[in-house]
Symmetry: C2
Subunit: 352 residues, 2 copies
């Protein structure tokens, strides 16, 4: 299996495992660029939003905001990220966290041409939608879009999304049945197993956190536009299929999928929702936001008890004249909990 290359012992001077003084990258064969990409998330009523930049050329694809990283100007990448986002959009970023570094060869490939090698450090950033910032946003060519436009199969709030049975499942089934000439030995699981786990087929429960797994399968099966663009789609599968979500530039949809996965997970053990919610809110509003992000419907009473017993919020004393019906008590996030160590989030369990 493994290339027990004899070079290990016969090489005159084996390359050291140490960096030494530091190998100059200028000498390297491939120039590498480093950039930062941000998945900036806000929520508006029922819709989670993601900030995207407009396509440069007509017919192009949207992408995530991008900025180069210059260590001379900014001490850390996070500082650099906040700087370029705030400068261009006036958005105040709240919670920011590094997601993953995307460095696959050919990330910027275009039909045959492998393209320059661009590494991108992906970040998740949470913010609130601000009216004042909308103007600056427009100017910089960015705008908010509902994230389920990119992943229609991830929104289970009204039940199982129709696109799953109508388009995705049959196409994936065909892909599973296309006998892979030789199953790759580095893939421990067969196609069908992977699909079952990711999409919750058979007795496997659907796990809303596996957004990335699902997207990667669809890409690998050639069912999303990016796969076709990158020349990885087989026409047989693609044929007759409606577009599966709105495509994005380069591998930005993969970055977004990573962001959603991470956020859906984080929600459960860190109080990050409150970065997305105004200073005071009703419990139902809070629930709607959690539902919007996690993409599933929650049990009202249990959600309320959860919020209550984690002691994450307190009443403001005021009430909101709600959208029809009895007025709702307003709550605020208890910032003290950050100091209390009970860093529990809203750990949603069980099924919707």
């Amino acid at each position: 299996m493994s290339s027990r290359s004899p070079s290990t012992s016969s090489r005159p001077a084996p390359p050291s495992l140490e960096p030494g003084p530091a190998p100059a990258n200028a000498d390297a064969t491939t120039p590498i660029e480093i950039g930062l990409n941000a998945a900036i998330v806000a929520v508006d009523r029922l819709s989670p939003l993601i900030l995207v930049t407009q396509p440069g050329n007509a017919g192009g694809e949207e992408g995530l905001p991008y900025g180069p990283f210059d260590p001379v100007e900014h001490r850390t990448m996070e500082i650099g990220l906040r700087a370029f986002v705030e400068e261009q959009t006036r958005l105040k970023l709240g919670y920011v966290e590094q997601l993953y570094t995307f460095g696959d060869r050919g990330r910027h490939a275009r039909r045959g041409d492998i393209g320059p090698h661009v590494m991108s450090v992906g970040y998740l950033a949470l913010t609130r939608r601000l009216e004042e910032a909308e103007e600056a946003l427009e100017e910089s060519g960015a705008q908010w879009r509902p994230w389920y436009g990119y992943f229609p199969w991830e929104d289970w709030r009204q039940g199982r999304p129709p696109i799953l049975d109508a388009a995705i499942a049959p196409a994936l089934k065909r892909w599973c049945e296309m006998a892979p000439a030789a199953e790759r030995p580095d893939r421990p699981l067969a196609r069908l197993e992977r699909v079952r786990l990711a999409f919750g087929w058979g007795n496997v429960p659907f796990d809303e956190e596996r957004v990335l797994d699902r997207y990667e399968l669809l890409y690998e099966a050639g069912l999303v536009a990016e796969a076709r663009r990158d020349g990885r789609a087989s026409a047989a599968l693609w044929e007759g299929l409606p577009p599966l979500g709105r495509p994005m530039r380069f591998d930005h949809r993969r970055i977004l999928a990573t962001a959603i996965s991470r956020l859906r997970g984080k929600l459960k053990y860190r109080p990050v929702v409150f970065e997305l919610v105004p200073g005071s809110f009703t419990l139902t509003e809070l629930q709607k936001v959690v539902e919007a992000i996690s993409g599933r419907h929650l049990h009202k009473q249990n959600f309320r008890r959860l919020v209550e017993q984690t002691r994450l919020v307190e009443q403001t004393g005021e009430t909101s004249i709600s959208t029809g019906g009895r007025p709702a008590a307003l709550f605020r996030f208890r910032r003290e909990v950050m100091k209390e160590g009970a860093m529990a989030g809203l750990r949603l369990r069980g099924r919707p």
Copy 2:
């Protein structure tokens, strides 16, 4: 607070958020290098081990294995990582996962000189210690070291580590009391709060996953050798303090702390322990490995029930003539669980 820089609206041509054709890094002011660092973990009896490379110069520090990443040679970073590790050490890496990308300015600084800018993508890799590989390891100048040598305060298996009360707590207390001239506004929590959360002071429980938080605090307080080396230590605090763990090159100890944090967390919801354990094992052996990694003592019966009800293992039928005492039944990992979706790890709860 925030620099609502007027440039946003008055700039003639605001820099686009898009990458455009791709800004050539060659033009950038600072050359950036990219490398991969691996925290390679194995377990030997009671000790979790980490593979380190020897210091290049006498009196230098150990470091994590390092390899440059060349996208022409390897399609992805993970492939590149496996290649350079296997080639040089003959180790077969099992589970591999990207940890974090470390890009702070001055990572490679040395007393005043800011050094070249080297970005490092840190990886966690799990493997088994192989006798056959030991020779190749020696040749390449790498060797296994118990990881608690670098973090003595993380091993709670025999109870609270003495170094905490003997050295760390008093020094941190002094650091907290040194009135920070002006509390930095970007730090929401005061020093004392951060220490309480990270080290579990007062009524805050000690959380074994916060390895990174603890190390970062010690670094910030100037209590670890790396901080002194980087010129960030104040002599007043440092004085009379025994060394707090074995130092490492550059920020490698931070990378290792990240790896331990991640592994301790992952253990609880993915079956990764089995990457570290031989093909068949007794339940006590398994427990010892989990204890070694999580750094805490576990309740025997509860551990066994946990393992049993997750259906992660099955009996081989054989027994091991154990190290004194009644023979123990041997178990093996049920690989099928990977296909069953019940991807639960050994979610240890509660206190030891």
